[in-house]
């Protein structure tokens, strides 16, 4: 079970990112929970300055812009 957090104030890119995570997890058959973090203080707490950011199992793997599907697959199956 992977715990994924998508950091972002709720703009369109953040929605898209969350959707991409779910799609990629489905494709790989990986069990995930996707949680959206919209609180600015919490976002800053992860150390990102650009959104959307992605945290997998408590570890920041991505910040700024949409992720690439290849990268998503790597992070999810890591």
């Amino acid at each position: 079970m992977k715990e994924v957090k998508v950091l972002g104030p709720g703009c369109k890119r953040c929605e898209t990112t969350a959707e991409m995570v779910r799609t990629e997890a489905d494709r790989l058959g990986i069990d995930v929970t996707v949680e959206k973090i919209t609180d600015y203080a919490e976002i800053a707490g992860y150390g990102v300055a650009s959104t959307p950011g992605i945290v997998v199992d408590g570890k920041l793997v991505h910040a700024g812009g949409l992720p690439k599907p290849d990268d998503l697959a790597r992070w999810l199956s890591a």
Binding site: P9, Y40, T51, L60, V61, W75, A78
Partner: protein
């Protein structure tokens, strides 16, 4: 646990193909671009309009400018997409954290041009910078420069209005961002941030180093084109239409009178007019081109353009989440003063 970088990036056998494709694209671009004037002349001759009439002039302006601006924008955005793949907001923050004011303001404004930045990131970026020890004034230098002195504005000015104006805009835009940030830093207004912002302690999580290949960077350029051109083309069409109407219908003397260098009040009027207007840099430049063509003074037009881009109501509403009203007011006052100074200086220097 850091299996993240288990798969090394290998040089793709397709690298050569991508590079060749990019070169081919650039050659094709130059060919199309060089044929624009004859194409526009031919297209406008097909219209049932009398040569020399207002409508004819407006149509000719539109048919030439619309493809020209879109082509230029595509190339500029593609190139900047590649440049920006070398930067990130997190890396910029690391470069700026703990910097002294002065040099820090200069670095922040300059990095503001090349750091990828989306307006919905403004608040996280602001908090991320301030809480990581980037001085408030330095953060403002970045936040002012990022939208105002962007590649689209400078690239299009260069192509449509001339390199002198583009260079001057770049220089003065950076100047406003550096000075305004420095002034805000000198005022020591940290206590005017919203309370919760001051209490945020940012983590300084290191992102796994993401080594990009040449192909990745070309793809980043293509993504930027898809993203930015896809988003702003409507603004551009509206801007060019407005520019075309000005070009075709506004008598030349009129603007020289109300926006000329003699009318000192036109600079503040241009700044005030620009605030409620919210346009992308790409949309405003065809208007700038047409206004200058009709005898409006350069400084006045540049002040208008800077005001439209840098002082926008939507951005102030976003900033309101992290700044108190007082600090928003100071921000607006300082930036507006800087823009006014640019307008007057320009009118005095170039006329």
């Amino acid at each position: 646990m850091s299996t993240v970088d288990l798969l090394p990036t290998r040089p793709s056998p397709r690298t050569g193909l991508w590079l060749a494709g990019t070169a081919l694209f650039v050659v094709g671009w130059v060919l199309v671009y060089s044929q624009l004037a004859p194409f526009a002349a031919w297209a406008v001759s097909l219209l049932p309009l009398e040569p020399g009439s207002h409508a004819y002039e407006a149509a000719a302006f539109f048919l030439y400018d619309a493809p020209k601006v879109l082509l230029l924008l595509t190339l500029v955005v593609f190139a900047m997409g590649i440049v920006r793949s070398f930067f990130s907001a997190e890396r910029t923050r690391a470069l700026l954290a703990g910097r002294r004011e002065g040099a820090g303001n200069v670095a922040a404004a300059t990095l503001g041009i090349v750091t990828p930045f989306c307006s919905c990131s403004a608040v996280p970026l602001f908090i991320g910078f301030v809480s990581a020890g980037v001085p408030l004034g330095v953060t403002f230098s970045f936040l002012i420069a990022a939208p105002m002195v962007n590649e689209v504005a400078v690239g299009l000015l260069f192509a449509l209005v001339g390199w002198k104006i583009a260079l001057a805009y770049l220089g003065f835009g950076l100047g406003v961002a550096i000075l305004a940030g420095w002034v805000i830093g000198r005022l020591h207004l940290e206590h005017w941030l919203q309370d919760w912002v001051r209490n945020v302690r940012a983590g300084t999580a290191e992102l796994p180093a993401n080594e990009l290949t040449a192909v990745d960077r070309i793809k980043a350029g293509i993504d930027a084109v898809r993203d930015i051109v896809g988003k702003v083309w409507k603004w551009i069409i509206v801007g060019i239409a407005a520019g075309a109407l000005i070009h075709g219908y506004v008598p030349a003397g009129l603007l020289a009178e109300i926006m000329g260098r003699e009318a000192w009040w036109s600079v503040p009027a241009a700044v005030v007019l620009g605030v409620p207007m919210y346009s992308n840099a790409a949309g405003i430049i065809p208007v700038v081109e047409a206004l200058i063509g009709k005898g409006a003074a350069l400084g006045t037009v540049l002040a208008f353009m800077m005001s439209v881009i840098a002082l926008s109501l939507p951005e102030m509403i976003i900033l309101r989440k992290v700044l108190t009203v007082k600090l928003v007011a100071v921000f607006v006052a300082v930036v507006a003063t800087g823009i006014l100074a640019v307008g007057f200086l320009f009118n005095a220097a170039f006329g």
